[in-house]
Amino acid sequence: MTSLSSPPGDLAPPPEMRDTPLNWIKNNLFTPWYNGLITVVIALILGYFFYTFLTWSFTEAKWDVIPRNIQLFNVGRYPRSQYWRLWVLLGLICTLSGLSWGAIARNVAKLYSRNILIGIGCAVVVCLLFPVPLPNRLLLVGMTGLVVGFSWVGQQAGRKNPKFGIWVSSTWLLLFFIALWLIGGGLFLRPVSSNEWQGLMLTVLTAVVSIVICFPLGVLLALGRRSPLPIFKGLSIAYIELVRGVPLITLLFMGQVMIPLFLPDGMRPDRVIRAIVGLTLFSAAYLAENVRGGLQAVPRGQAEAASALGLSTPLVVILIVLPQALKAVIPAIVGQFISLFQDTTLLAIVGLVELLGISNSVLANPQFLGRFSEVYLYNGLLFWVFCYAMSASSRWVEKKVNTEH
C-alpha cells in the first residue's frame, strides 16, 4: 500500500524465456554429455523398432484381412437386413452427443475453435478412409455432421433454457433402453437373439452397460462401508473383500454356470446378461474402494457445516460429500472404467463373440490363416482409441469441475 514497500518502477522485464527448438533440444536432450548419450541410444532403439515395423507393414503385412471382414469386426453376424437399426442407433447417439456437447459448452463464446475444427477435420478424414463400402463412409461422415450440427443446436437451447441439461441427461437414460430395443428387437421389430450380438458392437454394449450399472453400485457399496449401521457396513465389507479376492475370469465362469443354479428351473438369463452381471459385480467392488478413498478425502467439517445448516443426512451425502469425493477420484474411477472396457476381452473365453472373439473366428478362417499380427494390431488400435478417448474426457471433466482457481 505504502510507497515505501512498493517495488521500484524500473524493474527489468523478465528475460526472454522462449527457446528456439534447436536450443530446447540442446538444453533438454544433450546437456550434460551423458544425457546426450542416452538420447542417442534411445533414439536408435526407437528408430530400429519403427523402421522394422514400417517395412513389415508395407511389405509383408496383408492388411486386406481388415477391410474384407470389417462387417464382422464391427457387428459380427448381426443380420444384414437389420443393419439399419444400428445406423439409427448410431445416429441417435451422435445427435445426443452433439446436444450434450453444446449444452456443456453453452457458456463458451466460440464453439468451433481452431482445435475443434481440426478435430472435426480429422474425424471426417477417418470416416472417409474407414474400410467400409462407400455409402457407409458417407453415412459416417453424416454422423460427424450430426454431432457438429446438433452441438450448435444444443448450445442455443442450453443458453435459452437452463433446464436443458437435465433434459439431455434424462434422454441419455431413455436412449439406453431404446438402444437395447433397437439392437434386440421385439415390439414391432424383428427380434435378434443375443447370440447374434457380436463384434465391436458387443464389446461396446457390454462395457457401457456394465459401466452404467457398476458406478451407482460402487458408490452405494462405498457409502455402505462407511455406514454407522453394522449390517450395511458388514455386508459391504464382506462383498467388497470377497469379490476382490477372486479373479474376474472365475466370476465370469461362475456367472455363466452358477447363476442359473440359483434361479428357478427354466429361468436362464441371457448369456450376455450373465456376462454383464459378472463384469458389473466385479468392477463395483473395485470402484467402491476408489470412491471410499474419495470419501475419506472430504474433510469432516464439510458434513458438519452442512448438517449445521439443517440438511438431512441423505442430502448432506448427495449434495456435499459425494460431489467432492467423486471429484477427488475422477482419474481412479475412469481408470476403473478403462480396465473394465479392456476386461470385456475375457468374455471371448466364456464364449461370447465380442471383438476378440470375432477376431479369433476370422483368424480361424483358412483364407486368413496366420494373419495374427494384422488382426491383433487392429484390435489394439480400436481399444486404444476407446480407452484414450475415455482418459482424455476424464482429464477434460477434471479441468471442468476444478473450482480451486
Binding site: 474433510p299 467439517g301 457445516a305 448438517s307 449445521a308 467432492q324 473450482t403 482457481h405
Partner: protein, 262 residues
Amino acid sequence: MTSQQPSTMSDQSANTSPEAVIVAKDVHKWYASNKFHVLRGVSLTVNKGEVVVVMGPSGSGKSTFIRTFNALEDYQKGTITIDGIELSHDLKNIDAIRREVGMVFQQFNLFPHLSVLQNVTLAPIWVRRKKKAEAEAIAMQLLEKVGILEQAKKFPGQLSGGQQQRVAIARALAMQPKIMLFDEPTSALDPEMVREVLDTMRSLAKEGMTMVCVTHEVGFAREVADRVVLMADGLLVEEATPKEFFNNPQHERSKQFLSQIL
C-alpha cells in the same frame, strides 16, 4: 471447585426468564472413543439478543460445549433447551433446532464445489424449500450486508480467508436463525482480515442477534459482549460482564488465563 461453581451457575439458569433462548443445565459429556469426561456439569443461560463470549484455555471444552447447542455433539447427562425445544439425548428434535441455530466455524467450511451464491442458497432451497429466485434475492442482500456482493459468482477457493469467513456468516444467516454460534471465527485468519470479520459480527450483534462466540478477541469481547464466561477443564469457572471479567477477575483460573492472553 466442582461442587461450588456449577451450583452458582445453575442458580442463574434456574430462574428461567421467558426470554431465555439457550438453557443448558448441568451438561455432562464423555467422548466415547477415550471415555474422556470433557464437559463436567456445565450450565449456561443465554437470553434473547444477548452476546455471550466464551473464553478459556485450549482443550478446555469450549468447542465441544457450543457444538452441543446444535447437536453436532451429543451429551450424556443434563438438559439443553434451545428456543423452548428440548434437545433430547437421542437427538430427536435435531432438525427443528438446527434450522434455528446458525454456526460459523474456525475453518470456514465453505463448500468448495459450489459458488459463493450456491453456498448461501443451498440450505434455504433444500431445507426451507424456498424458490431459487427468492433464495437468491435473499442471498444477494446478505452478501451485500457482509460486503462481498461482487464475489457472488466466484468459488470459495478464489476468495481470501476473511472473505470466506464472511460468506460463511452469510450462509448461516440465510437460514434466518434465531441464534448464531461462532467457534473461533477469526483464529484461522491473517491479522489484517480479522477486523473485517469482527466488524460483520459486531453489526450482527447490534441488530439484536443472539450470539455465543468462542473467541480470544479481547477488544471484541469488551465492546460487544454482554457477558464473558471462562471455561476450564470442562467447567464454567467464571461468568461476568466484560468489564468485571477483564479488570477484576475473581477466580484464580481466570487470572491465570488473562495473564496469558492480555
